[in-house]
Amino acid sequence: MTARLDRIARADAGLALVLAATAIVLIATWPVRPDTPNASWYAVSVVRVGALVAWGWLLGATSSPGRAVGRRDLTRLTLGVVASAPLEAAAHAATVPAVPMAWGAIIALPASFSALGAGRLATWLLQRARLGALAPIGSLAAAIALVWLDLNVLRSAAFVPWVLPSAPGVFPAIVLGAGAAATVQRLARPFAGTEPEGTGAS
């Protein structure tokens, strides 16, 4: 059991950045004057979900292929989502927005998992197209294209991190849930034994 827990990813720079960004925005947007309503959640939720999605995409775009690495990335993101949730919960309780607290708490997980899967997929496609050298730029371009597509065509808010926390809906939940399920299914299904454990970067 202890050995298994030790294999779980530990806190790293990515988690530190997510926590720091969320906490700083919470503090910065916390009101002082009594005539100002608390609106900290609107910024905190955007920064938290945005940071987790960006982290997921970055992990997907930069990690080496392999399920062990993928599982470790999923664990990292899960820790990030869980560890940053209290900060968003505090902002939510003080802001009392029309959006349920459960939406912000839950949607960050499938959103970051989907970003991880999409990042890996984009990188893999670029490598298959023999454009591996352009992977950093190409992956970023793919992310921007996805956001543009959602803003102008789909209008679902599923791929727009700064709209997603304030726009609960069935369609984004289904899309991101399906994306997260596909990512987990691809990366975390029982290890076949053909791939060596622990090949991912820590």
Binding site: D6, P34, D35, A94, P97
Partner: protein, 456 residues
Amino acid sequence: MNASLPGGEGAPCRVSVRRALLASLTTWAFLLAGTTGAQARAEVSLGVARTPVAEAWNPLEARVRDAPAATLVLTADAGGLQRGEVIQTTTWTFPDAAGVQRLDVDVPLPSWRALSWRIEYRDRVLASGTWGARDRDPRPLDVVVTARPAAWSDALGPDARVIFAGGADLPARAAGWDGVASLIIDGTAAAPEASTVLTAAASGVRVAVAPGGRAGHAPLARLVAAGPRRVGAGSLAPLQDAEGGEVGAPDASAWSHAARRQTLQAATAALPGVAWVHAPKPWVALGAAAYAVLAWSLLRVGGRSGLLSCVLVLAATVFAVRAVAADGAVREVRGAVALAADGLAWRTEIREVARLPRGTLRLDGVYRPIDPGAVTWRDGTTRLSLAAGGRVRLTGRPELVDVPDEAPSGAPLPAGVREALPMNVDGRSWDGTWWLWRATGDDDVAVAPATRGGRP
């Protein structure tokens, strides 16, 4: 003798046919009459004597026949070139009963670009009507109860908005008099109820009553027997033949429509705004930073001890979240303004309501927003859409109240308020209400209603 009388055998037959025909015709006549009578009818009267006044409360009377639970919808576009379309909708539901049903309410009207009404019953429109922008007039009315309208047509000056009304056309509630400047009863027509006249005076109307008059005017004459006097926000005075002022001219004796509105604006501006209680920012900063560092460190340590410690920290944050939670999603501040004289006061509630989540704010009672915005009044409730953290200031429906004995001994008004009021007043704050009296010695009702060239 077997001879029968002429037509003896056929006569009963013809008689029965005739009777049957007659009965049939009678039945059809009754059926037709019944059908015609059962047709739903509806009518609406808005404003005093069907004359609506913009930017004021107006009496609204509506009747329907055989249309149970029919709905009256009054829609006003309060927008403008800069604001665009601003829709204010008033909806009232008639009682769910057959026969003639009546609604008698007061509705606030904005300065409208378009104003329309319709009565709906089971997806059908029974009746409808509309007023355009040309019909909009914010000038208060000068109401004359007379049997000789021609004599009064020009007596009140060229700028007066004179209407002639019978006693039955006069509103019974204070809000209905909001758009009326003066009421003149010259004693030539049937007298209105004395209570109605007193309500008008207390609601800010300058009332002039002829001391003599037709039979039935005695109760009204008694109201002014002691000479001019202030009542509530208005005044009562005998209709004089004195030279000098005009009946329709602004008069210091009463709180005019404009003065009342200015007073309400001053009171609303002086209302302490809604205050939110926030957890102190230094504590929030300390807690957030400490949590972030602790959670990261424990996860960095890893292993069973690190993870378990982190889980404990996460559980502990539940208390921290509860400590910083807002103490309510809706907050409000209430007050009231009462313009008092002679034991009666014209009172209007003012309130500011703020709401943290965006959505629809629902208030019991009909309230008018200070700044014209989209609002829906439905069966005596007010509904407004507010943005997240939005706030709105509203005034309530004017009403008449007795002046409590404790009011004159209340606290002084807040500093600077007196200067914002449109006239010299004595004021006290008691029980959340500003009680305002016209200062004694002010030029007042002695110059009240007199016609420009003498009584017509």
